[in-house]
Amino acid sequence: MREGGHGAARLLVVDDNKVNRLLLTRSLELQGHSVASAENGRVALEMLRRESFDAVLLDMEMPEMDGFQVLEVLVADLQLRDLPVIVTSSLEGVDNIVRCLELGAEDYLPKPVNPVLLKARLGASLEKKRLRDQQKDWMRRFAIREVAQDLQESGFALGGKRINATVMFSDIRGFTGLSETQTPEETIELLNTYYTLMFDAISGHGGIVTLMAADGLMAIFGAPVPQPDPCDSAVRTALEMLETIDLFNLDRDAAGKPQIKIGIGIASGDMVAGYAGTNERAAYTCIGDTVNLAARLESHTKVALRPVLIDRATHEAVADRFATESLGPVQIRGKKKPVDVYAVTPAHKA
């Protein structure tokens, strides 16, 4: 949480020695920063978990919890591990300095701290943090929180792992025709509203959108973060999406615009989840028969004239909770053998 003018940061000075604490605080305040201080590592960690700081200036020799212990805790803490730490100490021995850096300290400044050097090093650390924060922000905006978290925890590697999850495909019926009757600006506006509503329903039930293509959406439930009952979440999401679209249509109707209709296909089972693409550009996705089946079920909604179709595995998991109707074995495009298809009856019609 950066406050004040450009370059002003919120900093935490950690030092058991009062003279050092006062002097460092003073130097930093003279550079325009806002500074809080802690007299040992334990107090510092409490403050770091309670408030937001842009960087920490950390002494090493301290009672209760020393600087090395603080660094060890920070590096293992997902929320705090990106926080820049500049060690300011009069440590004896290169070994100790190396140990600080190996434990993730951004920089080392010997005491007494030279104010000019302090300004330069701190400026560099804050700039690096600003870039990292910006990247994280972009990642949140263009990826998905769960995927961003997975990347942060496990790092990036192309390839995937076999998982069991539920996949949903949805799209707007007759979208092409709809696009032709309105201006491109109106279409974009419609899509943005549609995405907002659908994302809200999907993420509200723990799903993540892994693909957006024109009016089509693909969402996964149960990956990368496992969910207790992904089938249930997916079906609930589908019903919520239908209700939301009904409400949206009331607005559109009032504005004299044509109604929109959506079709949703859901399938559950094994798939491979991971990052596909190249090392330069990749996306989190799921592939496999289950995914293809969900896509086929979604297109089959046009033939079956039912808004939500699910496969047998999903049906088995949710049949006791939702009104469903068996459409029997259906020959679906792209499948050699007929597959069992079930329609979920929208709640308000049940």
């Binding site: 058991d16 002097l23 004896e92």
Partner: protein, 114 residues
């Protein structure tokens, strides 16, 4: 002793960068804390508490260097690195440190009021 008790260049630079009023406050804090640190060294030695001993010596060293009290800084560093063995040396380092601190305190008080 050929080395001055307080290195004026270091002290003046501190005054320039942190501000004269602030340095008065800083000197007062040091004069308040240092006797406790020296006492802490003695107690830690008596109680064989190596961590407290090392930390007290370390703090004293660090503060001495801040004000330009170089000799005091060197004596404190010897204790930080040498530990209990250093205390038992023939030249009575704890007493030497206490005496040097008296000189530093007097010199800093004078500079503070200048």
């Amino acid at each position: 002793m050929t080395e001055p008790t307080i290195d004026r260049a270091t002290y003046d630079e501190l005054k320039d960068t942190a501000g004269a009023d602030f340095v008065v406050e800083l000197v007062d804090t040091f004069l308040d804390e240092a006797p406790r640190l020296i006492e802490g060294l003695r107690t830690a030695y008596d109680q064989r508490n190596a961590d407290v001993f090392r930390r007290s010596a370390h703090s004293l060293k660090s503060n001495s260097n801040t004000f330009g009290a170089r000799t005091l800084g060197v004596l404190a560093r010897e204790l930080e690195l040498g530990g209990f063995a250093r205390v038992e040396a023939a030249d009575a380092p704890l007493e030497k440190l206490a005496q040097e601190y008296s000189r530093v305190a007097a010199a800093l008080s004078e500079l503070r009021n200048a």
